[in-house]
Symmetry: C2
Subunit: 164 residues, 2 copies
C-alpha cells in the first residue's frame, strides 16, 4: 500500500512538472516549435527601421552564426535558424541623440530546411508576438511577401555585420 502511494505521489509530481514546463513554452507558429533559448543566441547584426520606428537585433543559432561568420549565407545551410527581436524604439535616457529599445514587439524566425520547407522557398517562417509570445498564425505567405525583394539573397535581408 505504501509502495502504491509512493508511485502515485511520484507520478503526480512528474505530471505537475511536465505541465508546468509545457505552460512556459509557447505553442507552435505555423506548425513550427518554439526555439527555446533564443534570447541568449549570438548576434549577427542589428537594424533600425525608421518607417515603423523599431530597433532590431538579428540573432542566430549555432549553425547560422557559423555560416554568418564564414560568409556561407547564399544559401544559408540547412538547420540555420535566424531570429529577429523587435522593439519599438525610444529615446535613450541621458543621451538625447540615441535611440534604444522600448516596448518589446515580437520575435520572428526563419528556419532553414530545404526539403521540409521546399514549398516556402526552403524556409519555415514563424513569429511569436508580445511579451506573452502569442503564436502568429496568419500564414507564411505574409512573411514571404515582405521578403520577396531579397529572394535572390536566399530570402534574407540581413548582411552579417563586420566583426573582428
Amino acid at each position: 500500500m505504501k509502495t502504491l502511494l509512493n508511485i502515485l505521489v511520484i507520478t503526480f509530481l512528474a505530471l505537475t512538472i511536465q505541465v508546468n514546463a509545457a505552460d512556459k513554452i509557447p505553442a507552435t507558429s505555423h506548425g513550427i516549435s518554439y526555439p527555446t533559448g533564443w534570447q541568449n543566441w549570438a548576434a549577427i547584426a542589428v537594424s533600425h527601421r525608421t518607417d515603423n520606428n523599431t530597433l532590431r537585433v538579428i540573432l542566430g543559432n549555432d549553425v547560422a552564426v557559423k555560416a554568418a561568420r564564414s560568409g556561407n549565407t547564399n544559401p544559408w545551410p540547412d538547420n540555420s535558424i535566424i531570429g529577429k527581436t523587435v522593439w519599438k524604439d525610444t529615446k535613450l535616457k541621458n543621451w538625447e541623440a540615441a535611440t534604444a529599445p522600448g516596448k518589446f514587439v515580437h520575435a520572428e524566425f526563419m528556419f532553414k530546411n530545404s526539403k521540409k520547407y521546399a514549398d516556402s522557398y526552403g524556409w519555415g517562417w514563424a513569429r511569436w508576438v508580445g511579451m506573452d509570445q502569442k503564436p502568429f498564425e496568419k500564414g507564411m505567405r505574409i512573411c514571404i511577401s515582405c521578403h520577396t525583394p531579397v529572394k535572390d539573397r536566399d530570402w534574407v535581408f540581413t548582411d552579417p555585420a563586420e566583426l573582428p
Copy 2:
C-alpha cells in the same frame, strides 16, 4: 640522441603554437586583457546614435547577462563585463527606410570589479579599435568623462531591453 631530438622538436612546436596564439589576441587596453570570445556573447540591448551615425549592440558575459535578465544592475555585480560593438550605420540594401551595420568602428568594454577598479568607480574601461583591434590607450578618464551623466546608474547608459 633520438630522444633529445624528439624533445627539441616537441618544445619547438609547443613554442610556435604559443606564439601563434599570442599573435591573435590583441594586447591589453589600459592594462586590461582582451575578452576573447565576446563576439558570441548574448545581447542585452541595441542602440542607434544619430549624432555620430553609429549602430550598436550591447553584449554581456554570463555574469552581466544574468544580472541584466534579473534586473540586478544598480550596481552591476562584480565580474560583469559589458561590451559595446559599434558600427557606422549604412542604408540596408533592399529596404530604404532601414539602417544596418556598415564599417566596424570599435568594441569597448566595462569590467566590473569594485575593489580592483575602486579608483575608476568600480569599472575597468577598455576599448579595441578597428578590425585589427588596436588597443585604445588614451586613458580611462576619457571613457569616464563621457559616462558621467549616468554615474547614478552605476555608470552604465544601457537599460537591458525587455525580453520575453
